[in-house]
Symmetry: C2
Subunit: 220 residues, 2 copies
Amino acid sequence: MELTTAEENYLKAIYHLSDGGKKSVATNDIAAEMNTKPASVSDMLRKLGDKEVIEYRKYYGLQITETGKRFALQTIRKHRLWEVFLVEKLNFAWDEVHEVAEQLEHIQSTLLIQRLDSYLNYPKFDPHGDPIPDEFGDVRARPRVQLNEMEIDQTGQIVAVKDSSAAFLRYLDKVGAYIGARIKVLDKVEFDGSLEILVDQKKTLFMSKDVAGNILVLQS
Amino acid sequence: MELTTAEENYLKAIYHLSDGGKKSVATNDIAAEMNTKPASVSDMLRKLGDKEVIEYRKYYGLQITETGKRFALQTIRKHRLWEVFLVEKLNFAWDEVHEVAEQLEHIQSTLLIQRLDSYLNYPKFDPHGDPIPDEFGDVRARPRVQLNEMEIDQTGQIVAVKDSSAAFLRYLDKVGAYIGARIKVLDKVEFDGSLEILVDQKKTLFMSKDVAGNILVLQS
DNA sequence: ATATATATTTAGATACACCTAAATTTAAAA
DNA sequence: TTTTAAATTTAGGTGTATCTAAATATATAT
């Protein structure tokens, strides 16, 4: 069975919004995520239901099926592999890759993805630190904590961001933080939860609790 | 102004069929090339006319405009750069690249193509030996002769094939010929025009006039 | 429990890219 | 030059993916 580009995009959005199939998802939320209208979503949900990638009862929400998960993970895998390619081989900055990867993820060719994977040396994480599912859809996520939850003197490595909007990524770049940076919590202000961080043993920077909450750290 | 994927495909076909804008093209020929029906072509020609990438007078045929040529060459450039990428970086065989490149050529991102070009070291020819237009649409073609037109003892290098169907490419691979191979005409049969060819100073092979007519050689 | 608000779906349109069948125009043959 | 054949276009219709506006179902509040 084959999915159209639009169907792949909807399924991916549903997979993310449902947190990998755990939660139920609202039509309105899908519409917001996809920048379409709820009416269009209803149309599409019927189609996805017909193709049995979701289980859909109108007004009662939906559930991704196992088949649906497989398709979603395949698209996510392709998206993230292309992101690695763009950053590592074509020297894109991480705030420039999303839009292009969004197009590249729909190229249909099993061979292409196999070869790309091999060419990139079977990466396990994309440039934002998100895990890349293998060809069977298996994901090995690293245990990660939010930077704002760490205590003084604890150390680790930035491995991902929650909000990967271009604006946030540019902000991080500007202050000298990046995926892979080794960090240490120097101080934490009780009053507002803001933090003082040491980056790569040389640069200190201050950030609000909100910003820190968007940064995921692999503790060491 | 933006073209849809279908419009890009039609324009590319028209560019090729018109030999770069020189000849006039028939609706039926476009339909054959695109595997569609003449009626669909008429529809599309009207649209392409509205967008002024062709000059179209119904029943009287069409002419690519300068704008149209620019678009066509841009698409051809992208197609051929991706082919180089697939062969040189992902180890595709040259008979496997066409279908995938056909999809990749429609990815929209100027930056992507600039970076890809640079990453591939600004190649001037694709794996089939066809020239890659530069970002301004300029093509520097090599003077090439058909193998069947060469005389005994003349030498050269295979740089392109006319018929780049998967079947023909597989045939070439099988007999040990390939783009880049150095060849010498050992013998030519008057009766049917068939040839005996020395490949890479070691292997000899026989081929019909028809096969040789499909092989383009840069003489040396 | 009834009224009100919110979420969701249906109805009816539009644009794209295609189709078949019929009409029309141009070209070729008698 | 008229007839016939071939090429091309128009008419009308399909499926996909979208929209707005209206209807309906569910959830919340009085």
